[in-house]
Amino acid sequence: MIVAERKSIPELVEILKAHKKILVLGCGTCVTVCLAGGEREVSIISSALRIASKVQGLGFEIDEFVIERQCDNIFIEQAAEAIQKCDAVLSLGCGAGVQAIAERYPQKPVYAGLNTAFLGILEERGVWAEKCAACGSCVLDKYGGICPVTRCAKHMLNGPCGGSREDRCEVRPDRPCAWQLIYTRLKGIGQLDRLKQIESPKNWRSSLSGGPRVIIREDHRI
């Protein structure tokens, strides 16, 4: 899922202070699961903004609305009335959601209420960890399903850097060394010989380095 976290209330106040009628728009998909922009967070952030408005005399009028998916026009339509009524939208969707709303409503200021952080999973209650860098050219088949591009701080493709200590990453000791995980995993599935193959430098053109990416499926186009 896409993992995000909320911006601070002072940051949001700074972003919104030129407006009066504000719609806090949540998204029912990824950001709901990572507890950043779902129904509950819309309610909490709206409350915080109302309190900030009262305390600081900002004169905000806050409305709340949540749609199933902000990155999809079919769902955006459900928020049409609420969006029409407001001066500005504070989207609690991911960066894609914010831009989808902004594209759909060219005359309406749309702001991001979250910092979209990474593609990851819930590792344990309250802890989300990055697992995929969306590099556009997946190498997981070669590394036993553990991504060195994302999970190795140095993006090493041909073995560990040698800096890990007690299976922990040298750069971030709170995280496991990806290469230790890869070794253990490949050993477990009997594919250690994969490590004998030398990987050539990664072609980053399929990533953001090649500019914004588009996938076109001619068989689905109308």
Binding site: I9, S43, A48, I51, S53, V55
Partner: protein, 144 residues
Amino acid sequence: MMNIENTEPTIVAFCCHYCAYAAADLAGSSRLQYPPNVRIIRTPCTGRLEVDFFMKAFENGADGVLVAGCEEGSCHFKEGNLLAKRRVNYTRKLLSEAGLEAERLRMVNIGAADAQKFAEHVREMVETVRKLGPARLKKATNQG
């Protein structure tokens, strides 16, 4: 939610059914004196309380919110009070960000027999909030 008088703070106290609520009950039965500013809401466990509950309490006019759970290690549901503690801490940070004093939200731990302690906590909370002054969020509906 209206104040008893304009100058008197209103405190919402979320009290766990298994401890603080019983302590409040006992305080009443024992004729212990404590300020009448407190509005007690019984909860099955403080672990049931979410950040939104505290935010809404303030939005609807509370000048202070007291969360009273079991003593740490003796939660009826094992760790509900520890969950509440984290949520209270998070909310205090959020309130500070919004410009409201974090001291207006407080969590305390009270045993079911601690009527005296309950009364003291209420007195302290009322005193703290009185010093801070009214939150001035009353009648905060949509308009900020």
